[in-house]
Each structure stands twice: as C-alpha cells, then as structure tokens.
Symmetry: D2
Subunit: 307 residues, 4 copies
Amino acid sequence: MQAKTPVGILGATGIVGQRFVQMLEHHPWFEVAWLAASDRSEGRPYAEAARWRMKTPIPSRVAEMRVSPAKPEAAPKIVFAALDAGIAAEFEPRFAHAGCAVVSNSSALRMQSDVPLVIPEVNPEHIKLLECQTWRRQSGGFVVTNPNCSAIGLVMALAPLEQQFDLETVMAVTMQAVSGAGYPGVASLDILGNVIPYIAKEEEKMEEETRKVLGQLNGSGIVPGAFGMSGLPSAPEQPVRYVASADRPQPRFDADCGNGMTATVGRLRPCGVLDWKFTVLSHNTIRGAAGAALLNAELLRVKGYLD
Amino acid sequence: MQAKTPVGILGATGIVGQRFVQMLEHHPWFEVAWLAASDRSEGRPYAEAARWRMKTPIPSRVAEMRVSPAKPEAAPKIVFAALDAGIAAEFEPRFAHAGCAVVSNSSALRMQSDVPLVIPEVNPEHIKLLECQTWRRQSGGFVVTNPNCSAIGLVMALAPLEQQFDLETVMAVTMQAVSGAGYPGVASLDILGNVIPYIAKEEEKMEEETRKVLGQLNGSGIVPGAFGMSGLPSAPEQPVRYVASADRPQPRFDADCGNGMTATVGRLRPCGVLDWKFTVLSHNTIRGAAGAALLNAELLRVKGYLD
Amino acid sequence: MQAKTPVGILGATGIVGQRFVQMLEHHPWFEVAWLAASDRSEGRPYAEAARWRMKTPIPSRVAEMRVSPAKPEAAPKIVFAALDAGIAAEFEPRFAHAGCAVVSNSSALRMQSDVPLVIPEVNPEHIKLLECQTWRRQSGGFVVTNPNCSAIGLVMALAPLEQQFDLETVMAVTMQAVSGAGYPGVASLDILGNVIPYIAKEEEKMEEETRKVLGQLNGSGIVPGAFGMSGLPSAPEQPVRYVASADRPQPRFDADCGNGMTATVGRLRPCGVLDWKFTVLSHNTIRGAAGAALLNAELLRVKGYLD
Amino acid sequence: MQAKTPVGILGATGIVGQRFVQMLEHHPWFEVAWLAASDRSEGRPYAEAARWRMKTPIPSRVAEMRVSPAKPEAAPKIVFAALDAGIAAEFEPRFAHAGCAVVSNSSALRMQSDVPLVIPEVNPEHIKLLECQTWRRQSGGFVVTNPNCSAIGLVMALAPLEQQFDLETVMAVTMQAVSGAGYPGVASLDILGNVIPYIAKEEEKMEEETRKVLGQLNGSGIVPGAFGMSGLPSAPEQPVRYVASADRPQPRFDADCGNGMTATVGRLRPCGVLDWKFTVLSHNTIRGAAGAALLNAELLRVKGYLD
C-alpha cells in the first residue's frame, strides 16, 4: 500500500476546516498532516482548539495533533485553505509564493484572472490557468479555487444546459442555510422565525463566478462533455440528478445525496418570461465548500500538478 | 352612537376565521353576530369549537356565541368567508344567491369574470364588477374577493410602478410563512430544517391574480392615483413603504408594520436582465387574508353597497 | 446462506412503520414480506400509499410491494405493530389470537399483567411472561411490547443504578422531539417559537412503565448483570454511555450514537434534594420506537420463541 | 406636569440595554438622558452604535443621542446597568461610589450580603439592605439588583406558596429561550434542531437567588401579604396568574401576558415524590431582565430612595 500524501489545512478550526478534517478522515490519497489556525490556537491540541461542530466524532489521530503556526515553513506541499476572505488575501499568496499548492475555498482570489475557478465535473480544463501564475513559475506553488456555495449549485445545474443550448440569460434567487455563514455565523436571535434578505457580496459572486466557470479559456474552449472530469474519489456517481416529484428537491431528503456532492434539480417547467424555470439544491458545506476544494485537489493530482 | 352593523363569519373556527374574530373585536363599523363552521362545530360555543391560535385572548362576547349551521337563512347581510376553495365554490354562491354580501378570502371565485378581485388601495373601481353578478340583480347578494396572500404583497408593490412606468414583465419568487397553510397546515416534521419548494396552484394564482388586479375594467380604466381608496378604518397610513437598510425587510421587524397591513419594500437595485429588482414583505394572515377581506368590506360600505 | 425469516408490519405507512421498513432493509435475520395499513392504503404499492419521510430512500423491493389488508390470515408469523393505541387495542389481540408473534410499539397492552414490557439489555427475563398469555397456549401467538420513547431512555440510564444502588425515588422531566408525535403530528404553527408543556398520558407512562421494566418477575428476580442480553444484531456496542463534557448530551451530536440505539448520559452531579442529578438523551424514533421493537424481535428469536 | 427624572443606561447597546430604551420610551416617571456603552460605541449616535433588535422602532429621541463614555462623571443620578457580569463587577461599584443609584440586572453583586436582590411584588422590604452599603453612607450611591431571568419566574410562583405553606424542598428544571443569552448569544448552528443542556452558573443562581429573595431580613421578616408592593407603573395587574387548560402555559400565548410582566402558572398536579408539581412561564427579557430592573427603580422612587 502506497503511503498517503500529507496535506495541511489552513483555518483548520473553523466550520469548513472541520469539514476538511471530517472528509479527509478516510480519504484514499490524502491524509491530514498539518493544521494551522489563528495565533490563539497555536500549540494547542486540535480537539481543544477547535469547537468541533461536525456530527461524526473528531478523528482521534487529528484530535491530538498540535495546531501549527500559519506559516508556510513547516507546511506540507498541499494546503487546503478555509480562511475568511480578508485573511485569505494575505495568506494564500504567501503559501503559494513559498511553493505550496493552495486549494482554496475562499473568495479572495477567485476572480483573479490567473487563478482557476474550478468545478471538476464542469470546467476541469480551467486548471491549466495556474500555469500563468507567477508563483508557479518561481516556486512551483499556486492557488486553485472553487466557487461560492450558492454559485456551485447553480453552475452544476446550468453547465449541461449551457453545453446543449447556449444559455443567454439566467435569473436566480437563492435561499441559504445558516451553515453558509460559518461558525458562530448567524445569531439565533436573528434567524428564528425570520428571513434575512441580504448577504454582502453574494449577488456579485453569483454573477461573476458563474460566468467565469462557464466561460472559455483563451483559445481552448470548454468542452464539458456529458460533464467534465469524472472518477475522482470524492466525486458522486451523478453530479446532477433530476427528481420528478412536484415537491422536490427538499433539503431533508436531497441535501445529502451523493454524500452531499450531488446537486438535485427539480420542478422544471416553462417560464413565461425566459424559457424555463427550475429549482436546484446543493449542500452548502460539502459540495459548496470543503467537498468542492477536495475535489479540486483530486483533480490536481490526476492532472499531475501535485507531483 | 350608531349601532354597529352585524356581520357573520363562514369558516369561523379556522385560522383565517379566528383572525376575522380578532380583527373585528374593536371594529368601529362591524360586529360579529353570527359564526358558522362545519357540522362538527354546530351548536357548540365558539370557544370550544375553535382551537384558538391567536396571541390575543379570544373576545369574551364571541367566546360564548354558539356556532350556527352554515346556511344563509339566519345569516346577517354581510358574511366574511374563510373557507377552503373546494367548500367555498359551493357555499359562497349559495349565500350570494340568498342575498348576502359575501366578502371572501377564498380562491374559488376570484378569477370569475364578474367577481371583483380588489385591493382598495389599488383597484377600488373594480368593485363595480359586482353589478354584473346575477345574484346582485336577483337577490341583491354578491361576492367580492381579495387576492392570494402572496399576490397581495406583490401587487401592492407593483401598483405604483405600473402607474408610473407601465410594467411589461415581472419575475417573482416567493417565500411563505407556514401560517399561510392554515391550521393544522404544515406538519412540523415537514418544515423544521427544511424548505418545501412547491405549493399547489400558487404560481398560477400569482400570475393571473396579479394581472386581474392591475388590469383595466372595460372602458373605465384604473386610475389608482397615488394609490386608490384611502381612509378606510383598517387601512394603514402607508399601504407601501420603502426601507433603505440593505438587510431589510425582515419579517421580525417589518411584518407587523401598519398593524400588519403595510407592505414593506426594500433592496431596490438595478437588474441585469429586467430593469430593477426589489424585495417586498407583507403579512400573510393579516394583509394577505383577513385584513384584506375586512378592507374590502369597508370599501363596500363606503361605496354604498351595504346599504 | 440461510433464508431470512419473513416479517410483517402492521401500520406500515406511518412514521414508525417507515422506520421498521428502513431498519429492516439490511437486517441479517428478518425481511419484510407483508405490509398492512388502513383500508385507504389497501392494494396500493407501498411507495404510493406511504408518504415516505425517512432520509434514506425507500428500499426498492418494498416500494413495489402492495399494501395488504390488516387481517391475520395472510400475515407472516412475526408481525411488527406500529399502530395508534386505540387501534392496537383491537388489532394486536386479533393477530396474537391467530397465532402471530406480535412485536408491538404501542402503549395499548404494555401494562397488561401478562404482556412483557421489555428492553433486552435491561430485563430480558421478562420475556417469559408471554408464556402466561392465553393466546400463547391456544394458537402459539403472543404480544411483546417495548416502553414509551421517553421511558426507554430513562430506564436505560436507571437500570445499572438500580442494580448497584437500589433506587428509591426518581424525579424526571422530559423534553421531546416533535417526531415523537408521529406524522403529521405536531402542527408547525403550534411548535415554532413555542413549547407545549403537556402530552396526554405521557407522565403516567413514564411512571408505570419504568416501574414495570425495573420490577421483578414473580420469584425469579431481575439480574441485569452488567446489562442484560447483549450481542443482538441491532444492539449497540454500548447501550448506555457517559459523556463528560459539561454541555452534553446534545441531540445534534449524540442522538445518532450507536446508530440511534445508544442512550447518552451526561451532567452527573450531586442533587440537593435527592442524591444525584443527570441528563439522559435517547433517539425517540429509533431506540424509542422501531429499534426497540426490532431488538425485542431479535431477543425472541435468540430465546427460541420464533421457532 | 412635572418633569420626568432623567436616567442613564450602562450597556445601552446590548439586548437588555435596548429593552430598557424600549420600556422607558413612554414611562410616566423616567426618561432616558444618558447612554453609555463600550469604547467602540462612544461618541456615535445611539441608532448607529446599537444594532437595534427590538420589534418596535427605535425611539427617535434616543436614536439621535450620542453614546457617552462609561464614566460616572456625567451620568445622571439613576443608572440602569445592563452589563456582563465581569464588567459589572468593576463598573457598578464605581458608579455607586460616585453617588449613583445603580439599578442592575447583572449577577455580579446579587449575592453580596449588603446588596438587595428584589422583586417588588415579593420582597420589597429587602430594599432596606442598601442602607448597609458603604457607598450609601459615603456618597449616597448604592446598587440594587434583580434575580436571574429563570429565578424570577420561579420565585414569583413560589412566593405565595412560601407564605401559605412554608416551603421545604423545591426541585426545578428550566427551559430557556435563546434570547436569555443576549446578542449575538447562541449561534443558530448550535441551537436549530438541538437542545443545549447546560448554561454556566445557571443552576447555582437558581438555588442561591431563590433562597435570598424568599429569605428573611435580620429581625424584620418578609411579609409578602397577598404579594408585596403593588401599584408601580410597570407592575402587571396580576403578578402571577393560573391557567387551567392542560396544555398551558405556552410561550406563544402566555409570554406576553401583562405586557410580559406576569408569570403564568399551569399544570398544577400532585407529585409522587414531593407534594405538588406545576409549570411556570415568564418572559425572560421583560420580567426576567429590563422589566425587573425598571420595577425596582419604581420601588426605589416610591420608597424615597431617589429623592
């Protein structure tokens, strides 16, 4: 049996960081070897530094690991980054500069022209963009990103339509689980019996990230086939599925489909304004965050970028 | 002091029926004189027949009233109807035929061509449609309706825009409180931690009712002014108000505005597909149901239809 | 490989019935061969008759089975009963009379003196009580029951204490998930932002069922050992576990422990009135209903009552 | 008309501080003249410094007031304190030392032997304790406190029983609304679909505060009469009421009784261990916090301590 590739997690104590720990527990290729978080956590055992919010127990091997300083010196080659955008803007370039493959879930660099914004089943070719990064040429390091949790579900539903029908206009309205805000995130006083109609920068992300993922690379063009890359260990059998029942998708029944990696589409019907209407549901902390990045890391490996 | 006009409530034990009882408790013109419900409730004191769900206590005078059979014989001239659509289709015509002014919250007859679908601040002129009803000519009875709870909020926000800008295309997505389904309505098992993406016939109602309310009467035309009828006792000072804060409207802060009769608009911003986007919030059991019907009854009286 | 024993489910379309279907899907000994429900469901495919509320998909083999009439004639020897108490009082004796082993989750016969009320890890000896049932002597049929969902968790926590310390006085307060009320159960309007302080007959069940399970059989005495029966396929490794963290147990983290079959105790601390206080959490539709009955069926088989 | 007495609020931007602002808006005796909060808020208009969470709009006069530094120099004679315990331990003595009448909702000084812990309807005589405070003798300042939100409801229900029956033993279990934790307080991720069985120091407060309020002053004795002090402007007509319906009290129907100042008792029934069991409900941010302190301030004025 081949040894697994050691990976690190930047922002390991937050909700997305915890998801990385959870999803990597039994991963066939990668294993957590390094955990970094804010200064406050440094040096403490992970189980104590992280306020563990996952439903499955904290993996015992990781529980005892000490939280490292967020510096690239001792970090492994591959680093999953689960940082707030402001912090990511500073730390992700630093790790890439030092030679790390930074697989980021943050919005900080997503729209930078030389940073791939990738969903492996949709636009795996975009991964080549990282060759344009200065870090890549200098230290071998680079940054790869995945879209915002809401944009991912939308793009997954749109990609096959784009391929077949050449989409012209899309209108989207999103409803988001409180988990999308991280931890502690939304105060219970703010959301119980209530609806909050605004998340800063969310609409902008939906628009620009969707365009970037569905857009074409210079000269090469996206050919998503009946979806792009398949066969990655964390990829679901069906990236997108359609449920016919009129009252689906519902989070209760559909969010965990494909271990949380499948987007579920339903309620397809003609639209009086544009052509068609439908509803799409995707899991916001798995497919929309840690799982998306993990899939990107798997794509990087298959494409030879982690050698 | 002039005696108040006696009114009846058909479907008095349901959630909307209870709202009628609550909203009529201190009404300056009307007072509850007759309560009807299903056979099961007949003859029982209202307090016992109704599973009272309002937050304010059941009015003591009404609590002791006996529930009458749902027959027009002993009903007062004015009857508020809070019946399920299937039952309403049978009972509302029966009461109108017997000479009653039926002020209905049901969808059963809303789209019938001679039945006014009215929001007093928007299309008070439509009330004249009732003159075309056969019942009116034969017995003096008639049926007046208000739109679906979701359509009302939308129409109130659109009306002034329609007047100023001549609306061409509208796309709407609704989110609805569980109270919209009546009682017992949505099972807690179905909705806790969940979203249900479908309510039967809701989309159809949104489309056709909005068109009917904003449409023109033959030859006469709607002149909603800076809104139509004003000054009715249950009308809010401001039928529609705009809140500038980016994270409003929120049900917690805005649903009860104007005693639940004001629709709150917010988040107005340019739209890349159509011209403008905004959010509108309205109270679904007050402005969207009992309050809407009550306002219609007040309009009827002011226009002389209850004399 | 030995063929699995066919089992039936009475009340198969309700929430507990669905749990039986779900928990039996991969059971090593039993397989669903017969589904019965109310007349309304008779003859329809199960997938259509049941409004499936489980998170895992409906097992395809069962989905296509036709719902049978609730008559013992065509029922298999072993029948799980998930009926409302009123109906159970009539149907369970009928099936036992006809020779069926009725493994019941209903409260109807629990307190009858010749009906075992059993938690296999606590009082497996009580199963012998069924020898006293007239049905058993006449047709071979019998009824075995498990306690109420709240009583089960309490008894599991108390049993080892009873064995060691001879309990004298217990005070208990319960908080119950809405799932305890079945489907549709509690209306969302009744529970959102609310607490309902009363469930009919719940306090009585807590008291009398706890006493019966922890009580002694004539002459024989309970010797629960370090818990009673172990090694049943659906039994968790640890029937009761203790968590030391001050803010546990929490449903989010602990309800699913042992596949929902483990009761979790925490917050043990001295009490100023009685001697000790603690908190116990158990899953109300698994350990507290279908799982409890399934475990009883496994006990019956191990003890030779299903031969 | 006599001018109202100016009062200040320490910790004015938090949830309890906001409640003070809300409840003082139309107060017949007091008016808000001074608002203090943390350094971060200093100098900013209150409407901007406070993230207003009340359902009624922020009073316009207060909205424009500037937040003052939390120093006694410019504070009015009467200061309501809504501070976290750690901060209160430092600031409340400072303001009392400077001559202020500090009416505190914090737990910091509640159990100090010379600090009155008062519910005006229960133990108004305890107010005399403040004469023992060194501050009182030196500068005229003093600190008066009210119990914890959970203890208040319990004490209000127990007080008449104590008077009639001389209570010996009480066991209590509490369930608390998330609002009890202030703002942002409990993260939605922690509480949706979950129960948290622990609040630090809550059990201790329940025990010791209940004993202190129901205890006797040296030599004088509590004579709560048919309740103690009555007729204060914020006091409800009925401090405690009993509802006979088996499924009450419920927060939805009963929390706002008496403008949130009445405690509602229900489900009185014999207990097999102690003598009687019942359920009591009280509003945790009105009767259990700001309203409790406001009532204490009114008591102080009636007793002449504010002259």
